[in-house]
Point group: D4
Chain length 146, copies 8
């Protein structure tokens, strides 16, 4: 039986690629879904589809319609959500996706460096699992699949 | 008919007091609930109730049990959630509370300065109302109560 | 025991006033809630609270944030929804409110002249009650309260 | 992974055919479902199955039983709903399907010409995506599938 | 704290009156709701409100709109459902109300003479309590309120 | 796409066989599930699995555990429920299954001879479709699959 | 605003009385509900209401109908559940009530001596709060009410 | 059609192996899922993935994160839950899984020796089926699949 895993978190480095590669190497039956990973495309998608907007706020709003469409469709299909936090960026989308998972009853694996324990304490306490690296999150899923 | 309003957001200044005062002055039938507003007490409550913990991570974890208990009880009773974002702090709890409101079908009023439009665009797009000041959020509720 | 009744439908004439008056005269324990009934205010509320918008589309969008806030809060509290259709106006908000009631399991009383039976046939078939006048809708609630 | 897309909207022209053709040409893994597209058959199905009815109102009611059966079964299976509005027809079924999607938590893509922004403002504000052509709706789904 | 009790079952004798009287004499804080108890009025209500119907089937259908409106409103408010079965009548409404209670997670007290154990075995097995007289049902509620 | 159809109703004649045969002949992609159709086995299954019971009431109770297990598993998987009523038998299980379908939001096709319109009026009014023969129910599903 | 608190756990000593007394002394606006606290009455209630049963198993089954009725009604009304575990007794009812709270989204306060950490580790990990004494549970609620 | 069966209960002997073997021999289309069956690994998994913890309580807490992750993912996918109780061990996890099944509406088959009828009476009364051996549970599923 395959599990569908939603990968929430920043889209500025290749952490998802590394996770997918490791899963493939280990032969884990995981299907990964998630947000648009091309950052420029994610910001521009509103104007690409809807045309030019009056200003930056509306440009953002237009983009978020399509990013949220994507997130909602894939999170509904996911069996489990991995949410990765790092030192950089505000990452409010990550917090949002993590809380959407909590409230919809989908198990959440929170990945964060220990240095972030204080600002993430309430979110961590409601996650199903808290680890520090994406590799540990994969270990957790491998354990589920044993 | 009274409405119960949950006030999510940072607990470092007196924005809730100003909101409560204005609501009272305008005679709006609003009951405000929300997180613990004494910041030191919010951080210390775990050790106050459960005793000393092994280290800072566990101290945080213990505190978050009680903070989340409070949040869950009052958010379940709330008719509407106001979530305030500002320039300072990471505010992941605010993002969490906002997304819990979205997923549980409770209407969300997002308050944020326009300067934050980019990092909050996806959260804003799923909020019911987006305004820039707590006073505007109160205007929105006054409109509901007309 | 009082019942809370949401009154969906156009806001261009005084049908709600007549309904409220009749209910009061008959001593029925009904609390009526519903959309903003001042049409100009309903259209302008977005710019009143959020300030001037770039164009008419955004002006509408801003207004709808507050109108939907109002609708959601009161529909959540309602025990039953009355949705009135007439010959004039597009009334897509009425159809929307009626379907929100159906999907959330709240009993729906549909009021429409018989002349509209064809375009409303699918909505009517999923309503709990279909009548032709607001007075009949009130009769239905009086029957519930006997 | 395939997505199931429910196509709500009028059944008087071939907009669904064009959408299906384009999706096929682009190789998008989309399965389209929707209402009966033969308008006469949609109106007559009640009497075809149940036999002659006393008058036009009951004829409509009988037809709507089967049309609603179809809508409910396919909307329950859909991952996303596209609802198309145009200048012609009352389109209360489209508004109904759109609101059923909103209330059941299924992402809604609203397609409407900008000229309809005012009467559709509340529905648009609760949709996940608002665009002006079916082709843009397909672009949105292609973006989800990237 | 008061409990709201829905009394499902036939409306041909005065079993509800006896139950209400006994509850009052024992001082139990119970609020009783239920279907229309005047049998003729229950059958005629459709034509009373909507006017004459084409034939007996449509007369029944019209009446059931209002009877179901009543049932839905009060069952939504009830904390517990008592469903009484006897030897007479088909009692499909009673079976319907009992199953609506089961599926909506409301505790069901089934009252039936032991002679009916065979045809009611599946319904009884999913009820919360099965007793033989209304007085026993009241004992059960008194036990809850101790 | 295949649809799963739960066939509720009496198990004393071969109406399900006829329905299955017709569906197969017409090539409809329907998978039929339902209760145990061997009546004696349905009554005896409790003692067959659990051993002899103290008396007839407990024998019935034991059987109903397994019959309800079967019903619950298959109804959860069904896309649509057909419930057949006839002149014979009390058929409280049929009414129960029909109401479980209504409350769980699964579309219900009610099949009953017109002679039963009065005692079934409330159940019929909440069904999605009401027809008089199993063949008409199959027509309804064929219409959905067009 | 008052909170309703369900007190799950063994009924062999007076821990609930102490909790209620302390809450009253501190003036906390808490309403306590819970299972029947008279142990003999809890075991006998089935035969008291339904009459003598064939053997001890059926006697237990009859009693549990009424005990579960009580639990379900009060847990549905509770805002928060306190579940107390001790060294004695099997306490499967306590584990059951705790898990019912978890799955229904009601916040759970688990009270257990540290000596029980191993066998309760999975239940503890899904509780909202874990403490060692009823007094600490009351502290937690006092914190919510500050 | 295959059924997914979650096997809750102690992990100290090979009852699951026997069940799986019998199901295979009988050719039943059942897919079995469940907790980690290697007891040492189940206790150690927290430290294996997260590293050494401050003490035994935190070691347990860490392990339970992963055990609960596994339980939640597989119970969400299960069509039916079998929960086995025996004379040994506290088995609070088994009671927890059984109650999670009850509250999420998944049918529960409770397996327990008759000697345990008293402490399990409330859990048994809310189970769908109560039997004394795993073989009987398999008989129940075979009956569903006939």
């Amino acid at each position: 039986m395959e599990l569908i895993v939603y990968l929430a978190g920043q889209i500025h480095d290749d952490w998802r690629d590394r996770l997918r590669r490791t899963a493939r190497e280990r032969g884990l039956p995981l299907i990964f879904v998630g947000p648009q990973e091309n950052h420029d495309r994610s910001d521009a998608i509103g104007e690409i589809i809807k045309g030019e907007q009056p200003n930056a706020v509306y440009r953002d709003q237009a983009a978020s319609e399509f990013n949220n469409l994507r997130t909602r469709i894939w999170m509904q299909k996911a069996d489990v959500i991995i949410a990765l936090f790092g030192e950089k960026y505000r990452q409010w989308n990550t917090a949002m996706d993590a809380a959407l998972a909590i409230q919809s009853g989908k198990p959440l694996i929170l990945v964060r460096p220990e240095t972030l324990h204080h600002p993430l304490k309430e979110l961590a306490q409601r996650a199903q699992v808290v680890v520090e690296t994406p590799e540990q999150a994969l270990e957790a899923l491998a354990y589920v699949l044993e």
